[in-house]
Amino acid sequence: MSITVLSPVGINRVGSQPLAPRLGALDGVTLGILNNSKPNSLELQRHLVELLGRYHPVTGAVTKQKPSAAIGAEGLDAYAKEVGAVITAIGD
């Protein structure tokens, strides 16, 4: 005898979010380092910015560090006005 059951899965109703337009080049861009305090993550980002600076005339970097990976970042709107692109880290 057949049996009918209901799916226990929930619906995600988050709509499609557009990505910010990408940059043509990194020349003159102030980079953002958005860091989540995972061990070694800031060292990784700092070295990455150093490498980027060798090949692209970026104008510097502004670091914003969350006290913990488990906490959402605050003040992102203001931070976004200080930087032209952001490198976030890390999922580890």
Binding site: S2, I3, P67, I90
Partner: protein
């Protein structure tokens, strides 16, 4: 943020990163993927990882994003969909194959059973109770009821589940991180009030263990909602390194008759006549065995020593988290007989459950800005508490006879949340 962003993650977290970007409506969010891990690696390795990420970062910030992949965010099966199977065995096997279970046998959520469960809530089926991460999906009364049926709940348990989910969805609890972390925290549900007796929740022998339907099925239903609605599937939305037996079911009730202090809910600011549920991001309980001490001070010294280890998350997240001490009735009475109030106990443990700064530095989870102001981070002999305030050491009495208590460390950056249970049916 309105500016181009690229996110770095290690290979082990690609699945979660992809799933999360999809769940937040940005399935083509650029990622830079490097070898796992970076934690615990040398600076030379970290520099190599940065070189590995370089081209991906440039491409992510300057190139055209990849086309959006097709597909809805919800995985496994569409919500509220009805499936028809040839027989019960086929239905059970299908749910297991789709990873819609905790791996144990379950009750099939037929429309009739689900309808009865919804009726137990006294609410409409479509009412949204919470948004559950990391899928960020709606937990409606119907969704909760479906999972409650699967867990073996009775309809009258629904108000507890609904209050627990509302509590877990409070931003202070930080459910996204609790769900997705590598840490083995579960969502512990603590019930206080007359509803404990009304539902037959166990608070005596084996209060933290199996054998009692209300505790077992309410805790299991919470887990199934977190998995099936929230997407906390091990290895996917749940990245726990080991997980925990506590993730099968973790529902505890206060032994109010045996507590020498005010009930838990009253300490949390609710009326004595209320019934409440409190959620903790609890690890499995760690036993505190003391068959010797006869004074409050010596008993609490044993408790404090058990709380004082550097491996749990509270040791590394001192200013943000809270913990639970579940006293057995005999320990509680030994302590109260010495004239100590619950507040006295909290203060005693806050002062005594501390780790040396030098020892905590070994963990390297600490960064300069994470040290609480009350601790001299430059003095390796200085003592650092495991929580920010005495009242963040929560005290409850549960269990039967015996000289045992339990310490429940938590995720460390979440705060427990209490909600009143509203019975409408």
């Amino acid at each position: 943020m309105g500016v181009p962003t690229v996110t770095i993650c290690t290979e082990a977290f690609i699945g979660l990163a992809r799933e999360e970007s999809k769940n937040l409506g940005m399935p083509n969010l650029p990622l830079a993927i490097i070898k796992h891990p970076i934690g615990g690696e040398s600076l030379a390795v970290i520099r190599q990882r940065a070189e590995d990420a370089l081209a991906q970062v440039v491409r992510g910030l300057t190139g055209e994003p990849a086309a959006r992949p097709a597909g809805a965010a919800s995985a496994g099966a569409p919500a509220n969909e009805r499936f028809t199977f040839a027989d019960e065995d086929e239905a059970l096997e299908s749910f297991h194959a789709r990873r819609l279970t905790d791996g144990l046998p379950f009750v099939l959520p037929t429309p009739e059973r689900v309808q009865a469960m919804i009726a137990g809530s006294g609410r409409s089926a479509g009412e949204v109770i919470a948004i559950v991460p990391p899928r960020w999906a709606e937990a409606t009364v119907e969704n909760i009821a479906i999972n409650a049926v699967m867990a073996g709940c009775r309809p009258q348990y629904m108000p507890v589940l609904i209050a627990a989910l509302r509590a877990a969805a409070d931003p202070a609890f930080g459910l996204y991180s609790v769900q997705a972390t590598t840490h083995p925290c579960a969502v512990m549900v603590l019930v206080s009030g007359t509803i404990v007796d009304e539902l037959g929740l166990n608070f005596r022998h084996g209060a933290l263990g199996p054998g009692f339907r209300p505790n077992a099925s309410i805790g299991r239903a919470m887990r199934l909602v977190l998995v099936n609605v929230g997407g906390g599937i091990p290895g996917e939305g749940d990245q726990a390194t080991h997980g925990s037996p506590a993730k099968f079911s973790y529902c505890v009730a206060e032994n109010e008759a045996a507590t020498p202090w005010e009930p838990f809910r009253v300490t949390r600011g609710f009326a004595r006549g209320d019934s409440t549920v409190t959620v903790f991001s609890g690890e499995g309980p760690h036993n505190i065995n003391d068959h010797v001490c006869t004074s409050a001070e010596t008993t609490l010294t044993v408790v404090a020593d058990t709380m004082t280890t550097i491996g749990h998350n509270n040791a590394g997240s001192v200013v943000r988290g809270d913990v639970l001490v579940a006293f057995g009735p005999e320990h509680a009475h030994t302590i109260a007989s010495g004239g100590m109030s619950k507040s006295d106990v909290q203060k005693f443990l806050y002062e005594r459950a501390r780790n040396k700064v030098g020892l905590l530095k070994l963990r390297a989870m600490y960064k300069a800005e994470n040290w609480p102001d009350c601790v001299d981070q430059h003095d390796d002999e200085a003592l650092c508490p495991i929580v920010g305030r005495p009242e963040d050491i929560h005290i409850v009495v549960t269990g039967g006879p015996g000289k045992h208590s339990a310490f429940v460390p938590t995720f460390g950056t979440s705060k427990s949340v209490t909600r009143k249970i509203e019975v409408r049916a």
